[in-house]
Point group: C3
Chain length 328, copies 3
């Protein structure tokens, strides 16, 4: 696909400086782009590249533009957003189809324009909404529901049994049947090899617009609120409710049976061990506390041996002072 | 399936209060249950729902029963256990079959009534015991052995090569062949996308009744003792031996070549960095120490900046006192 | 396969003590080996077994040899390396083939002697180099490139979309198309269920000889330098560059957009939160600091309540001293 700079400017609503007739055929990073490629500049940090790039065109934010830049430019308000919009024009999505290498149970309900790749398993009475994409080797267990415009990356597992066992008198465990399902609402993206367990009863629920990264664990009866984003390798224990618009880092752990308020931000590798009741907090640490307080504590932490040494020294000094009193 | 309250009471050994002829057809949570559903009450925390639920029947523990509850009740000693037992009657397990969409090596030995779902891979000379269930997209490498009544959830990998490399003189690594296998004994459940590596020589062993949650890493030559349960995303390094009846939280890490005594409990996100020799300890932290000691340390941790400030203040005060001595 | 001790000695370059005609047919651990098996002894810790083992032959390091050992021996310089070399002779690798149960896109380019197991997915225009092994249920997305002699373990996902979203004005997220790919160079091993995301633009790059363990997350636009080894469940955030010859423990997290110098060692469960500029450092902790400093801090950490108590005591003592001054 070749497209002229003028056409791109119309598409993303920008102003051309340079040769608007020049054509480009793919996007590239500013330090790697060639004459038939288009790139972007949204961050002052990369400004130097604007003077040396071989790119056929730079989409750049108005405040970064300088007349000395000799490359063709499209000037926009927000280069990052404009370029992200442009990238969609360079995508060649495959036509939706249901691979005959996928297993789809006859009782499953598959919406319109759904793309199901090879080696997918979709169980009994599962439902997949319109325009969703199910990548290879995804497993969707029986009775689970996936909304419209969802993307499920390779290896994701939806609806495996929750981890529920009752101890028996002889020290073994008895499996508690997991009879619920998983409901994933519209516009969600589920990362590669992420696991979402079915509820014991009722549903594990992923609300509209949630984005989960790779290798995340979502236990039974969890609920994740609308437009919450969670980075890779985070784990959420059973029955915990995460509010809407949370932003959660990677490798975070949540204990079970807690509620986290909307608009909470959790720093990577933290452990959330109790309810978060107030909206909009930023938390960090194990257990998670106010992020600023935690950062200050980490600074002291690394000098703990020095702090301990000072305390020992103070003890000696005080002992000397006390002795001094007695002897003086 | 419809079943009367009287029949259920006979099944789980309870006493009916209310209309024993009333029929229910599925289980539900107490706050969501309808008139044709049965629910349970085992925790005082949810007692209020007992007065407002629409459930056709509540299975509840004797000590929680109150005459003011107007819903039909079945009174039992332990409502949680009784209801868990009842849930099995509402399950409709699919008839066991070996999907022709699964790959089973001709030399593999598959027991009676084994259910193998589509997209499973079972390698050369692998063995699957009677009554086991292998969910979709599971991989069982050559020579691995799975016992009877095991459940392997989707995407689990059994018998991938252990992570063993010997450095070479030119700074690269030479792969150490991994010639052993994995043995999973009877009555184990292995979570979705959990990985158990084959031994270098000998076997990685998961003993009878072990329950592993999702996304767990078990390295080569590890042994996990009978009836140990491990929550999601925990990792166990090579050659470590976990004793029987351990209860291990999520996101825990174990270094290699250590032994952990029976009946140990490890709190989530801990790091076990050395042998645990005494039975029945409860540990937490990185590195893991006594759980109570760790909790006390976390309380001080969050106030470390304040502690450091106090020490600086004490230093000044002592300096003043010393100066005072000299000047007085 | 039976092989005489004399033949093995020739193969690994060692000296026979005992019956060189004796034949063995498989390797085993020293404490489990039988008369038709060969074992090794490289560590003084296991020396006692050398006197009691039933093994048909022990490969052992020269400095561990003692005349009192009655078992047949092959004496070598480095028993570990020699035995590792020997193990390859006991392997029976399956002949390379492309399973007709795998999906390989017609436009994919597959090298010579590549072994592709059942249930693998290889997308449009993907490239697999000569002599690589792709185990079951691996997904390689379109346009990704795998080098020669690579091993991809079961369930690995190569080329899933990077986790990139731009917030919209209504509080939702807009997907940023991920148009790049993943390049895995020669001689890499990728663990089971490990995920490597495609770049937004350009490539996520795994350099020659890198070894990744299971369940690792590699985000978009990451680069991992040559001969770096990473243990299980570690996560690397977007655009971070890991230098060559790093040795990284399990469950480590890296923030995005940082560079880590060559020859860095990172202890398990650490969090690398900023650039590592100097080569050859050993780091540990959250955030990661010098490993010795961190270990000293952990020692103080567990006694923090005691430290806090001492500070309170000092405060009281000083108060008494001050009061004493005023009253004396």
């Amino acid at each position: 696909m070749k497209i002229s700079i003028n056409d791109i400017a119309r598409l993303i609503g920008g102003r051309v400086v340079g040769d608007g007739q020049h054509e480009v055929s793919s996007p590239a990073k500013i330090e790697e782009a060639a004459a038939d490629q288009i790139t972007f500049l949204a961050n002052n940090k990369y400004l130097d590249f604007a003077f040396t790039t071989q790119a056929g065109c730079i989409v750049l934010s108005a405040q970064l533009y300088q007349p000395q830049i000799t490359a063709n430019c499209i000037i926009v308000d927000d280069a990052y957003q404009a370029f992200s919009q442009l990238l969609q024009h360079f995508q060649h999505p495959s036509a939706p189809e249901i691979s005959d290498r996928a297993f789809v149970h006859p009782s499953a309900v598959i919406g319109a324009r759904v793309h199901i790749y090879p080696n997918v398993y979709i169980g009994e009475r599962a439902v997949i909404g319109d325009d969703s994409i199910i990548y290879p080797n995804v497993t969707i267990y029986a009775h689970c529901v996936v909304g419209q415009r969802c993307i499920m990356h390779a290896g994701a597992v939806i609806g495996s049994d929750g981890f529920g066992f009752a101890p028996t008198e002889d020290g073994a465990y008895h499996k508690i049947p997991q009879l619920g399902n998983v409901i994933i609402e519209d516009d969600c993206e589920i990362g590669a090899n992420t696991c979402i367990d079915r509820a014991t009863m009722g549903s594990t629920i992923i609300r509209k617009g949630v984005k989960l990264d790779n290798l995340i664990q979502v236990a039974h009866n969890v609920e994740i609120g609308e437009h919450t984003v969670i980075a890779a390798q985070t784990g959420i224990s059973g029955s915990t409710k995460i509010g809407h618009h949370n932003r959660i880092g990677g490798q975070v752990g949540f204990v079970g049976h807690i509620s986290v308020a909307p608009y909470t931000q959790i720093n990577a590798q933290s452990a959330v061990a109790s309810h978060v009741k107030k909206e909009g907090l930023a938390l960090s640490g194990t257990p998670a506390i106010d992020i600023k307080q935690h950062f200050k504590a980490t600074v002291v932490y690394k000098d703990l041996p020095e702090l301990a040494r000072k305390v020992r020294e103070l003890e000696m000094l005080i002992q000397q002072l006390k002795n001094g009193e007695h002897t003086s």
